[in-house]
């Protein structure tokens, strides 16, 4: 009995299945029409592509062109590797080979510097461009605006203070010996400040007095460190200059010291301003958030409105000033002060109307903006960026390095942030559960997970940079591409052949090496 009902059921199922099958088998006319339309569209696209790209056999089969191709191939097959010394008759490396060797080393080193700088700069960017890290970040309006206001004020103070310190360092270190003394003195002072008073770590519930002394000591320490760095940079320049003359073949060490010190000296104010700005920003955002949450509604609203007015006005004024710098408007105030005031008032009204403690998705906005900028930068080839940098720093490998670095930052920023997005959530939750703040979470849960893929991607980027640096010279960016394009334009194919050969060997060898290392890492 039961078996019969089963059979009936199976029968019914079978019938239903076969009906379904039939439906599947018989494609609807709409489907067919769609397929035909797609096929026609593809046909038209390819037909148009053949027309536009001028693909035809007339040119490649033209006897004259074939002859010139054969001539070029024969010249390329005969690379100008060796030359006979006219005096002794010995076979030696030709001038082209010598130039090629020095240029290919330059090319590799360009890629090295660009990859290193790009990787270092891409790392902080990648955290800002990682969705999983940024999306949970929300803050009330007052906190965001407080951060903006504090960033500008603290950054400006940092910039001024560092410039003053740099000036003082410059005056003091004019005599290297005095500078050395000052440096040692600064070091001693740092040590003293560190030892004086309690430990440098701060607990949460300490009396205000301890807090104040802590902040004072920290400030003094930072000032001393910046001053010491400035003096050291001045000294480094002097020593580097001296070493370059004295060291002979190792003179490049002195030059490197000089250049690095010069960079420290010039970038110190900007970096210090950025850091003080960021620190100020974090304090500003924290205290305004606390204030908005703990204050009564009316006061919180008023604070939000004031901060919103200031913050918005500053942002709009900044953007307007940049646009005015770029476009040099007829009436600058139409682009700077007036919109800043209007925007500030509007923002203040919004701040008054909004619930003061309502969180805004600021993290997601920053993420979107960062990703967008990275995508746009990535889509412009380094060769095109090279044109701009050549105008700025003139012909030579430095322009190439800057172009490659910028593109590396954009490309690695995206790859790195995708890695950050792909991390396992377990450690993150574990660390967060211990009560760690956002930065501690990144340091202890995120970074250990991403180092191997970051290294692999940095190596991958180094591969790409080696390839790119072989051609960045076409726009004047230094490296072997510069001489290669010159040789080709002068129709010196035998010389060009040596360079192509060198490129093929070096790129293939580095490719192999980096793929082996990458395999070992992952």
């Amino acid at each position: 009995m039961t078996s019969r009902t089963d059979m009936v059921q199976t029968e019914q199922q079978r019938a239903a299945a076969s009906a379904l099958e039939e439906q599947k088998q018989r494609p609807s006319t709409r489907h067919i029409v769609r397929l035909i339309l797609i096929a026609v569209a593809v046909f038209l696209v390819y037909a148009f592509a053949v027309q536009v790209t001028q693909i035809n056999l007339e040119k490649p089969l033209d006897p004259g062109r074939q002859e010139s191709l054969v001539r070029v191939l024969r010249l390329l097959a005969d690379p100008d590797l060796f030359a006979t010394n006219p005096d002794t008759g010995n076979l030696t490396l030709s001038d082209t080979t010598r130039v090629t060797i020095s240029r290919i080393i330059e090319t590799i080193l360009m890629a090295l510097l660009a990859s290193t700088a790009g990787t270092l700069l891409a790392m902080p960017v990648s955290f800002i461009a990682a969705r999983n890290l940024m999306e949970p970040i929300t803050a009330p309006l007052a906190s965001i605006m407080g951060a903006i206001v504090a960033f500008v004020i603290a950054g400006y103070v940092g910039l001024r203070a560092t410039s003053l310190l740099g000036q003082a360092a410059d005056d003091l270190a004019r005599e290297p010996l005095v500078g050395l003394g000052v440096l040692v003195g600064t070091g001693l002072l740092v040590w003293l400040v560190r030892r004086w008073g309690g430990p440098m770590a701060m607990e949460d519930d300490v009396p205000t007095r301890t807090r104040v002394t802590f902040v004072v000591r920290l400030t003094v320490l930072v000032v001393l460190l910046v001053f010491g760095l400035a003096v050291a940079a001045e000294l480094g320049m002097a020593v580097g200059n001296w070493l370059e003359g004295v060291l002979g073949p190792l003179g490049f060490l002195g030059n490197a010291l000089y250049v690095v010190s010069d960079m420290v000296r010039l970038l110190l104010p900007a970096v210090a301003a950025l850091i003080t700005g960021l620190v100020g920003m974090s304090f500003g955002s924290r205290y305004s958030q606390e204030a908005v949450i703990s204050w009564p509604g009316g006061a919180a609203r008023a604070l939000t409105a004031v901060l919103a007015f200031l913050g918005t006005a500053i942002v709009i004024f900044g953007i307007g000033s940049f646009l005015n710098w770029l476009y040099q408007f007829t009436n600058p105030q139409n682009w700077t002060t007036i919109p800043a005031l209007i925007g500030g008032v509007v923002a203040a009204i919004i701040g008054l109307l909004m619930k003061p403690s309502r969180p805004l998705i600021i993290g997601f906005i920053i993420y979107t903006i960062t990703r967008g900028i990275l995508n746009i930068l990535r889509s412009i080839e380094p060769l095109i960026m090279g044109i701009v940098f050549v105008v700025w720093v003139s012909l030579g490998p430095f322009a190439g390095i800057m172009a490659l670095t910028l593109h590396s930052i954009a490309a690695l920023g995206k790859l790195f942030s995708e890695q950050v997005e792909g991390i396992s959530e377990g450690p993150v939750e574990a660390i967060t559960a211990t009560g760690a703040n956002h930065i501690q979470m990144v340091v202890y849960a995120v970074i250990p997970q991403i180092i191997p893929p970051f290294t692999a991607f940095a190596l991958y980027r180094w591969d790409i940079n080696v390839r790119m640096s072989t051609i960045i010279g076409f726009v004047g960016g230094g490296g072997i591409g510069f001489v290669l394009s010159q040789n080709i334009q002068l129709l010196r194919y035998r010389q060009a052949s040596v360079m192509m050969l060198a490129i093929a060997i070096v790129v293939a060898a580095l490719d192999y090496a980096s793929s082996q290392i990458r395999r070992r890492i992952i």
Binding site: L44, V45, Y46, A49, V50, Q51, V52, T53, Q54, I55, L57, P60, R65, S68, L69, V72, L73, R74, A77, D78, P79, E106, L109, M110, L112, L113, F252, L253, N255, A256, V259, D262, L266, L326, T330, N375, R378, S379, I380, E381, L383, I384, I387, V388, W392, F398, G400, R467, T470, I471, F474, V475, S485, I488, A496, I503, A504, V507, A508, Y512
Partner: protein
Amino acid sequence: MNDDDKGRSSRRRLIIVLVAAAALLIYAYAIQVTQVDLQEPLEPQRQENLVGLLRQLARPDIFSFENVTESTTISLQMPCPEELRGAQVTSGTKQVVLAPNCATTTQDVLRLTGEGFPSNVRGAVFWRPLGDTVPRRLTEFRANSQGSFAVSFTMPDIRPSEEPQQIEVVELLSRRIVGFSDISKITFSRIIETILMALMASTIGTILAVPISFLAARNLMSDVSSPLAAIMAALIALPVFGFLAYLAGKFVLQAAVFLSDPLLVGVVAFPVSIALIWPVLRLGQPLTGTEVESYGSRALSALRLLAASLLFFLGLAILAEIGVVIGAWLDENLGLFAFVGNFIYVIADFGRVLLPGLMGFAGALLGASYASRYAQEAVIRLPEGSARLVTAILTFLGTSILVFALAYALNWICIFGLCQYIPQETSQLVVTLGVPALLVGAAAAFGSMFARPKRPYPVGTVTYTITRGSLNLLRAIEPVILGFVLVVWVGLGPFAGVMALMLASIADLGKLFSEQVENIDQGPIEAVTATGANRLQTVVFAVIPQIVPHYIAFTFYRWDINVRLSTIIGFVGGGGIGLILFRSANLTQYRQASVMVISIAIVVSVLDYVSSRIRKRII
């Protein structure tokens, strides 16, 4: 134990110190070589250049404007009279003063002041040189809020004349957009060209990379091995059958030209030749039969196959001939859709020109496969002694042919200029290259006498290594560099770019595809092999279904790269937007360059987004 640990840790510390020192040296040297230094970028003049460039880039020349202007003319003397004077013109509220109103040399500074102009108005000063119709721009001015301005300038050129010449003061009252600028239109057409270049290169590159990727897949190739005799027989058959098939192709082509002379004959001959294939294949015994057959029937079926394929190629050739005629006709008469006619023409032309080569290639492969199979069978079936003899003879011939062919190719390309030392007259050349080839062949044959004739050689691994090596070398050279050489061949224009990108795509995709083949699941392969399928069937039924999604994803990835590269391949003359971008950058027309860079940024990031979406859906 403890000592050992200590020793290890100190050795480790030493290694770290050495690595750090090496890194320091390398970076220090790198800074020296690459001329990194901040003096240049911070130099005021250079910063000014950069700011000028950025300001121009910030004003892309996207739209064309109609200017509403008003002009005031004032007279100028060339050369200066004895007594220096100024000129003053008043029109309406405006008053323009030029002092001095004359110039003798190009160093003389002239000062122009204006009053009563609209406040903050911009304008320019032009000079209409005597005899020229085009005014020359001298300088620009901008009035202050009171409507007055003052500019100084020098004359670029001196054209002495009796009567006074005219200086025009043109003020720009307003401008409105009337459409896209010329450069926008050019950019639009070029960016489409760029995308289509990438499309063609990706498509052709993918199609050609697929067969190569099988040759470069280690897991497919490593177990391909055959005895020496089979390899050598294949080497002999390759040129012989290839040449015969090539001749047949030439003949078929001539026949096709003859058969399609009036177009109508061709239209009839094409279906007839295709239709004839059917009776040839059906006549007599079925072609796929049991293994045990008499030699006569085997020969007969081989002949029938040959006839059928000749007929097939004849049909193809006739089709190509018809296509060329029809395509050319459509190209002239379709108007807007003429590109369809051009497409048909180009495809048919390709078919026509490549047919003999294609037939030669197919014939060579087929001949080699038959020869290697029969040689293998013979060596396995024959007794030891005669097998050795057969191997030796085949080795002699095969090695000689290989060496001769290699030597001939190297001589043709004139490697290292060696061909200068070799007589290039045909008969002498054959002797010079042939005698060593025969000697090498004899030596190889002598050597082969000592090897066991049935011993398999890993010919697959050798093929794999050679293919991978060539792909790696080709991959190492950027398409922009390849473009240089191809421009010499096919001339400036997008075709050269397409070819360069195609070569790079083949090399890149060949490697990526073959890695996919290497990573496939072995299960289906074993299952299909267990049914007694041969190698080709294994690939078709077990390998291909596994790799199609990955292949499509990689094709899209490569298409991304090709779009990026096609924006710069024009720098070496390879067409696309790079060509005009490079030109305008060289002419310092940065406002035009800006339009192109913006269009590149938009197009590349949009296509990037689309392709990443598609890739995500596929895998």
